[in-house]
């Protein structure tokens, strides 16, 4: 695959109460953003099992985005704090696996932040485009 034709595949887990609503707002207010994120709605960012992240990479995702309510705003009180701890540890592990931790991104997006959601998606798409395809599954190996 050549650099130009590479379209990053990003899996986005969006919490129902803030970030999914934010994405919705971006859509209804016709804010333009890249089509590279396949959105999966979850009830809370705290519902994202670290296994989902690994599974997404295993199935060929070039990046994984998790978006939840701002600290203090989680509908379930502390779900997003839990997510912050988990994803921090996941990023450290990805690094040990020789996978650029930038491929896993955690963002806080509220229901009112449609434009911010669009910005996050665009920015992440470009960063992953620069990184190139994920090395997992047929990508570059070290042999």
């Amino acid at each position: 695959m050549t650099e130009e034709s590479f379209e990053p595949k990003i899996v986005g887990f969006l919490c129902n109460w803030c970030s999914y609503a934010g994405a919705d707002l971006a859509g209804t207010s016709r804010t333009k953003y890249k089509p590279n994120v396949r959105v999966i709605r979850v009830m809370c960012s705290g519902r994202v099992d670290p296994l989902f992240v690994l599974k997404a990479f295993e199935k060929g995702a070039d990046g994984v985005l998790i978006a939840g309510c701002h600290p203090g705003d989680c509908h379930y009180m502390s779900g997003n704090y839990k997510t912050r701890r988990r994803m921090e540890l996941m990023r450290r592990m990805l690094e040990q696996f020789g996978i650029n931790p930038e491929r896993l991104r955690l963002e806080w997006v509220s229901a009112a932040e449609g434009a911010r959601f669009a910005h996050v998606v665009n920015d992440m798409t470009e960063k992953i485009r620069e990184l190139g395809p994920s090395p997992i599954n047929g990508g570059a190996t070290d042999e």
Partner: protein, 324 residues
């Protein structure tokens, strides 16, 4: 009438699984009475050619321990699969890849280079390396190649059952052997041990309280009567299947996860991320910045090496990549 045949083999193994079988002690008499052991290199002088000469499926059950590290391991795994009706992956190495599976954190070339050239060997100035074919004193000698990846048994052949542990605990082996002799084996693909976790079997006091950061087992004042994880000592108990009666915590040491993932989860590392981050983080989380959280979790110095100590080759990511 001749007795049904069984075989024991070790691939990339430490031999501990073999000793665990020897440790059946007098119970081995029952096995010897009921079966004809046709292959068991640690104890019996049968050679590979004797196995090649058997009919396909002539062996009733093969207990296979050790990981698939080199081409010979793979070749013999295929041979024994062909000759056996039931193939059992015995022990963490064949079940999950085992501790040698940590070899997947570096490439084959890095590995060979380190072992033969970087360790302080003072007798190898010429940089000699083992070769898959060489000529020595005019004789041509072949040597099995290392595979580029370490694998568990089910990566190269079809496996019927798994007996977990490093090595499998005696009661687990006895249970499996009894099931086998009475023809009471469960569905294909089953892991022959309990459905509980190590934590379920561990009698340390649990308080469900969070700590600020991880500690090392040599840090002071660990209370041996309390859950180690709740005191900040990483312990794989919540992400590990039981059957060992929490052997390591009972010796005041953390579980390192040898029995593999518990029934409800597919791999140990992600399970452990969930478990450990529910106990280790920052104490005053609501005021903490992202950097402070990162710092607290950086106290886990080697998460991949610890969480996947026995199961890297069968984890979702399997090995180290090279993401430029």
């Amino acid at each position: 009438m001749s007795k049904p045949k069984i075989a024991f083999y070790w691939a990339g193994s430490c031999g501990g699984c073999e000793v665990a079988v020897v440790d059946l002690g007098e119970k081995i008499y029952d096995v010897v009475d009921a079966f004809d052991i046709v292959f068991w290199p640690v104890a019996i002088d049968t050679k590979y050619d004797d196995i090649r000469n058997l009919e396909d499926g002539e062996i009733e059950v093969c207990f296979f321990n050790g990981c698939i590290r080199n081409e010979e391991n793979e070749e013999i795994a295929r041979l024994l699969r062909q000759k056996s009706k039931v193939m059992i992956a015995f022990g963490s190495c064949s079940h999950l890849g085992g501790i040698p599976g940590l070899g997947n954190l570096s490439s084959r070339d890095e590995t060979l280079d380190y072992v033969y050239r970087k360790t302080p060997v003072s007798g190898n100035e010429g940089g000699t390396m083992p070769c898959t074919t060489c000529v020595k004193d005019g004789n041509t000698i072949d040597l099995p190649a290392l595979r580029t990846e370490v694998s568990a048994l089910n990566d190269v052949v079809d496996v019927d059952y798994y007996i977990p542990g490093c090595p499998p605990p005696l009661p687990v082996i006895e249970g499996a052997v009894a099931a086998l002799m009475n023809g009471e084996l469960p569905r294909k693909g089953a892991v022959l041990s309990t459905e509980k976790t190590v934590c379920d079997e561990c009698d340390k006091e649990k308080r469900k309280k969070m700590v600020g950061k991880a500690r090392r087992i040599y840090d002071d004042d660990v209370d041996p009567s309390r859950c180690l994880l709740e005191q900040g000592i990483p312990c794989m108990g919540p992400a590990t299947r039981g059957g060992c009666e929490a052997a390591c915590p009972s010796a005041n040491m953390p579980c390192t996860g040898c029995m593999g993932p518990p029934p409800a989860s597919q791999e140990q590392g992600s399970r452990m991320v969930t478990a450990i981050t529910s106990l280790i983080g920052v104490e005053n989380e609501r005021e903490a910045t992202a950097e402070e959280v990162a710092e607290a979790l950086a106290s886990l110095r080697d998460p991949v090496g610890f969480f996947y100590m026995y199961s890297l080759p069968t984890s979702f990511l399997k090995r180290r990549y090279n993401d430029e």
